[in-house]
Symmetry: D3
């Protein structure tokens, strides 16, 4: 039995509050069970130095947790004077994933900053960040589309993410914190609307896994992600409109 | 006319969502007009080095803004590698104010960390932080009271804060961002339930002010703070219980 | 009785050594009792990015203490890798106060850097810094006036600062370190030559204060500041010349 | 055709210089084609704070590149004042992978520090770091085994890593830098001697990949890793001796 | 002709104000021509970790310049977030020099912190720092001698320092800033009262120097240092008393 | 007897592997006994701000040790967030020495970055860094000469460095780590091919030294350096070709 009574292949309840912030060009409050985070997208009319003169745009992400989003208070990155290794790894993953479905070459010299701030953490913050940021990003790109009079959105597909794992010999979808901390294997999967992979990151925590297990993780993740993408479609409608 | 149609001596609507976070010993989401912030209180069974062996406790605060809480995206303190001067000044004010109504000598060797994270900023974030943190602090102290079997809460009074200012020759209560950015004088006042001052910080932005003006600022702030304390009493009930 | 035998409303002896440094455009060594600090003003022909293209100038301040200006050696900000919260708060106060009596719009694209370095600290370093920096600033502006052929100095008035406080139920002017460390209330006041307020910062250390007490602090501070401004006038002469 | 004439499923020549450093408890110089790095293992008789009192040991890794290991000089992390996001991500991967095949509970209160310093980078530095560090780690554990009179090595299996990728529609093993920079998909795989997975990290650079492609990546990586492990066995001999 | 009319072998006027600071265990204001700095010595009853349990003491130094001690304002180390390479090199020289004439083994577990803060810089700040710090150090050690009831001071000799250099083909003693900036060779020499060398640091700026030139630098420095030590003896009296 | 059986005036075996790195414009692996380091020279078509518009070039150096180049693991500068004082001092010495034999005025607006990374440290790393970097620098300048069609190399002479010291009353050439740690005097000397001095840095560790001792240090160093320069000439050939 899972701590919250879910079936092994069941997602936690997902709730997305669209246009959550007053100033951001795109923003959501996404809740996945007790995991809650704010994702915002901000347009800046500058690009990083390595893109100067290419006419391309850029999408980059920052991820942080409020100190008391966690069971025990976590010291702030700003108090330690640097971004933690974990935050750095997560924000690189978010940025890379989002860039893979955006046509940067059609964006013009704009940067979209994605900010993912975890209000409450109960497992799966990085995958919820990707699922939520995707919506904020599309909102910001729609603002740019209007402003720049683009014919279409420079976005190739929907995209969402979920975690899967092996806990006490069972393969589970969408791990909460307690499950995650006992997991023998932990995998994060990012997929597009047409069922292809953007990222697959599987880690054996203590016990290496077999190829068959890898397949079952992938199957389970694919099912969960399609449900999340269905929700994204409800919120965003057709990308071509 | 004020941008939101308020009278000069009128507070913005205040909404406090009590017990907002799952893990923190005390927490609120406080909204003052469009200003929104999360205040949490975390108990740690350690004290700073300078208190070792004194049997005293400590209350300290950290303040930060989400990057897109502001009209234009603000770079994160963690990305700059240090806490900004403004954040540092505000968190010192919050900590100092809260300590002034707590009997640290009766707290035992515990630290209470107050975290104020601004979700959306429309003026008055530091005073909202004090008003909201007071509630989170009392909640955490009530948990300690039960755990440590104290006879009473080591808190001397209620406490709240508000801003006042002079804008286009008019004295206004509870400035929103637009008013704040045009203010000739900006004053933050922190008061207790019995009407005494904990902090008075008045700053002339461009035009020094007279003693009569000082009096009218103080009068207006005192009225506003008593309304906020009435709200705190509704939420917290009697401090002796 | 005060530690140095002063009356409650008596300033410590103030000594200002004008043109203390060889290279700076303005500089003083100011001594207030045993508190000693060097204030210098440096002209730079650049302005901060947010003023680019406005034609305005800027005045900014930095404050630091020599490690052994204090009773026990204080670790250097540079050894800790960042400016302390206290230094940051003080230098913001100094900069803000000085800017309030300068007409930045008439300064042209120049920045004046104010450096306040405490040689010896016996209470009241931030107010002595304001009183002394004012002189260094005027000296630097006079150099600019000559160089830029301005008709008049872009300075609206004299300005000085003093601390007041409540110690063992007594209201005292110009607290030395021992008094400051026992004070129940500590207030710093910055005023102009015409008796108006630039900053009022009152803090209850442990015991909130009443409105009557606030009035008596203000009265006492105003008297002290007028004496300091008389001294400034002796040194600087008429601002219009 | 690959730039160095290899078949798609062919590893670059691998050369491991065992016991490369005079002082380290374990060390190699590993060369994979033109990629060269030094891996060392250092024993420290301390453990991180979160393990105090558990009797467990720890394995942690640091990764860095010499400034001119790259085609264009890379600025040092120490000059920038912090570890880059990329280095941080890689050193977390190395440490996590090595810990997955060590029985930390049998290590006693020792930390083994793994240092991977890239002398020359031509693609695949993170996988070469894992393959090489494994040897340095076993050497250090053998020193501890002797010193602590353990019955057996607390290591469950051999372990090595390799990259695979999709370049111009072709699936390739062990990408060199030129191939890596053109890759549509880039995957790093860490496996044990018995053919199970420790880490699978696949990233679509621009073009999401299908499940069939995922399978062919995994197949190719598994073959390459078994060749590397054969080499490790030659160098280290039987883990039980 | 030298800028201030001195003979090639002539020191600038030296003025040492003894016991300059109220709190420090030893302190001077030393002026060498227009170069002015404060040297203080602070006793701390702790020693660095690498000396724990050895019974030895330690002497260490920090060096810094006030921002406007220089012709053009220098940015503070604390604003840059780190000690500059130049400051670091100078403070290592000062600490090493002072330790060479102190018997650390007889000091007990005390650290003496030397702080050298340059008020005004006109060349020769590092050598003036050594000459002045020596006096502050002896004062602090005399306080420790009394407190710890040592039989004698753990100091082997007097010590002072001076610069020499080659400017426009002429060998000069005690270079001021203008001379220093034109010097082809710049040498700093630290010597003891009995005429032996503690440090010799000669640097060719552009033009390597011959052995004969080295000799003439050394001769000139030795003469200057003996004059400085005569002055130290006047101030400090006999080291055995 | 010396630990490795050398005569007092005998260098350790020196081995220089020329063109050690694939990408750098100049590079060597230099081994002096068990001391091993990589020196590389990188050309950058930019110059530091203080040279803008002068047409001059620049040479600068960075020095670092791999964590396990030392007997006990040394924490990385990047993990501590700053360059250590020792590294900073050494890299300043290397840069200054190299600049003294380069005609920067003839270099055009190029910077040459010298990177010295210690693989294994057994004393004399800073002098080996100078001897090795000289070769890397000449290689890079030869590339620039060809590219920029200079008539001749802007290098005035060969240059190498060695340490000398006094250990147990004996004057020794080229100290290894054990000797260095027992040395009463430690001196580093940098000389040119024509026997002139670029740097002389002598430090008394505990016992000041006499002028006669200074002479014998210099004599011994001069002999050692001429042997190193003979080796450099073998590698580099005539500077005019």
């Amino acid at each position: 039995m899972r701590p919250d009574g879910r079936r092994p292949d069941e997602l936690r309840p997902v709730k997305i509050c669209h246009d959550f912030l007053k100033y951001a060009e795109g923003s959501v409050l996404i809740e996945v069970g007790d995991t809650k985070l704010i994702c915002s997208a901000s347009i800046e009319d500058k690009i990083p130095p390595f893109l100067k003169g290419t006419g391309k745009g850029w999408v980059t992400a920052e991820y942080s947790m409020l100190p008391r989003s966690t069971e025990h208070r976590t010291i702030r990155d700003s108090a330690r004077g640097r971004v933690s290794g974990r935050s750095s790894e997560i924000q690189r993953l978010i940025g890379r994933s989002l860039r893979s479905i955006v046509d940067l070459g059609r964006m013009g010299e704009h940067t979209i900053w994605i900010d993912c701030d975890v209000i409450q953490a109960d497992g799966g913050t990085r995958t919820a960040a990707i699922t939520g940021s995707y919506i904020a990003l599309v909102d910001a790109l729609r603002k740019l589309k209007e402003q720049e009079k683009w014919d279409s959105l420079p976005v190739s597909d929907y995209m969402a993410a979920v975690s899967v794992g092996k806990v006490r010999e069972q393969v589970l979808l969408d791990l909460c914190f307690i499950e995650d901390s006992m997991a023998e294997v932990d995998m994060n999967v990012v997929m597009t609307g047409d069922g292809r992979f953007v990222e697959v990151q599987g880690t054996a925590e203590g016990m290496p896994f077999t190829r068959d297990e890898l397949h079952s993780f992938i199957d389970l993740a694919a099912d969960g992600i399609q449900q999340l993408i269905t929700y994204q479609k409800e919120i965003l409608g057709d990308l071509d409109e």
